[in-house]
Symmetry: C2
């Protein structure tokens, strides 16, 4: 029903459109009671649960002319699953709170739900329930709560790094931030653009990849979180506000300095990022690009799991992050500052 | 710092103002890891958790000229704790997602947090973490996720009522809805009004009470949820959208008809509600007033716990709610409808 808006349906009619999209996400054995009652009931066989919440706001965290509802749904789930992974946990459930202008098209809410369901299904995570509210003109707010299980492992905190530990990353750096720069510069690809065809140039493919990661969060390496925990990671965080900023949090929590290698960072900037942005901007995005949702962790020397790439090391010193001994000139993201 | 706005502080500075307010809510023994990391870790000793989310939106769920930030904080927590109680569970933790216009006064966010903390402390429930986002002009959105524990009990669902069961309520009915009517009519008391003094008339005290319940949710009987479960409640729901509407959900889920007694409902309408609104409107609010967050449950005959008041019974019949055999002419709340 194109053109139908939320105000044209009762809450029950809207839920009747949305619930079937969650099919296949709500029924694993560890869900004792799924959506539809006052609350859901989830098994926590290891006797503990990991909990986090992360939100996206229209016109702040996405633009409708860049991102589809489906892409927003994938991204907001990814942001939450990355926080679960960064503790060394496996996701076990999601809750959704949606507040939307009643004039919002029903089709957009359906797409959002389909995106959430796709990301949930890919992670083997059930959607346990949610909440619908109306909001003021133009406003759409999506808050997700994610629940996870540590399977008896201790959580991998931010404050456990020790001098001598190696700093490594799983997943990419700077691609989401690079995509944002391209979109802001009018060089990006939106959900409305046609896909590049098979004959697209390396530049076109690079631009497409970066923008796609910005719009959807791509496929962050969630499974590497529990894997890092099993490998003995001493501290871990996901890259949500930029590598330097997030590693700075880990450094301050652990009371040590993180020394990054300029050469290792340059290697991270090579490929699509440099193709699309040039070397300087690519490096800047590696250091400061947010919303990548890759995982950075510290490991005892010799303990870095296969597939993780070493970026530097932890040393005794004033807490902070240096690149080749110098404080990098980058800033991450701050919510309320212009 | 009156006049300071969110945009004047960094996220870190704002968190530094907010975290101390949560003191005493974040440290119970069952919290393995509180706010400040990628995610929190909460013990779930019974091997299962109860999960729910409920939100409030400025200008939709509250008006600043009626309700203070502190009152909004208390109310949004109460809404969530009622859902936990309605499953027969005890709350074990809360998460907060706040999205606000950067021009929002810091003092408002501080008050909101203090109200959340007060309600959390009263319920013995820790605040485990949260998320901050900026939002468009005038927008404030508060989503809470509540976690609970069943201590090994089966959850009390909506679909377990049986013909012959007795329907009973714990807590009041219609007061929040009555307060809303008074405020809409310009007869209400807002957070800006002076309190009635000791010599206030019964009418003034009644108006004050109803409006206070509307603004804060009052003190819903959360502890009666687990008590009802222990007493053998077959089904339970909290009154969030109105007694008839919420009991209708229970009736449909259980596949039976709920017959309410007009005399019992009239008794619920007596007192402050009738003093402030007159008998007819008082009864209408008992039937349809939302946001009361009292608990209605069904019990086997003879099984109603002390303190619960009998309103009617479950019978074989087309699912729905009748009062003295007649369908009541009331509607509850629907989010997206004008």
């Amino acid at each position: 029903m194109p053109g139908t808006r939320l105000r044209d349906l009762s809450e029950g009619e809207l839920l009747a459109r949305i619930f079937p999209l969650l099919h296949g996400t709500t029924g694993p054995a560890h869900v004792h009671l799924g959506p539809g009652d006052d609350a859901a009931v989830l098994a926590a066989p290891s006797g503990a649960v990991v909990l986090t919440t992360d939100s996206m706001v229209r016109e702040r965290d996405w633009r409708d002319d860049w991102s589809s509802g489906h892409e927003v749904g994938r991204k907001v789930v990814a942001q939450n699953l990355a926080d679960i992974a960064a503790m060394g946990a496996v996701p076990t459930g999601l809750l959704i709170a949606l507040a939307a202008d009643p004039r919002t098209e029903v089709e957009w809410a359906v797409e959002l739900t389909a995106g959430i369901a796709q990301a949930a299904r890919a992670a083997g995570t059930p959607v346990l329930g949610g909440d619908l509210s109306s909001a003021g003109p133009g406003t759409i707010f999506v808050a997700i709560t994610a629940v996870g299980d540590l399977a008896g492992r201790p959580p991998v905190r931010r404050d456990g790094a020790r001098p001598g530990d190696v700093v490594a990353v799983a997943g990419t750096l700077g691609r989401s931030g690079g995509g944002l720069q391209l979109l802001l510069a009018g060089r990006g690809r939106t959900h409305l653009d046609p896909r590049p065809d098979a004959g697209a140039s390396p530049l076109e493919r690079a631009v497409d990849e970066l923008c796609r990661v910005h719009r959807t969060a791509g496929e962050p390496p969630f499974a590497e979180g529990p894997r890092a925990a099993d490998a003995g990671a001493t501290a871990m965080i996901d890259v949500s506000d930029g590598l330097v900023r997030d590693l700075g949090r880990l450094a301050r929590a652990s009371g040590l300095r993180v020394e990054l290698s300029g050469r290792a960072l340059a290697a991270e900037a090579a490929g699509a990022l440099t193709d699309a942005l040039g070397a300087d901007e690519a490096l800047r995005q590696v250091l400061s690009g947010g919303e990548e949702h890759s995982l950075v962790a510290t490991f005892p020397p010799g303990g870095v799991p296969a597939g993780w790439r070493v970026l530097g090391a932890c040393v005794v010193g004033e807490p902070g992050v240096l690149v080749d001994g110098v404080e990098p000139d980058v800033l991450g993201w701050d919510h309320f500052r212009p």
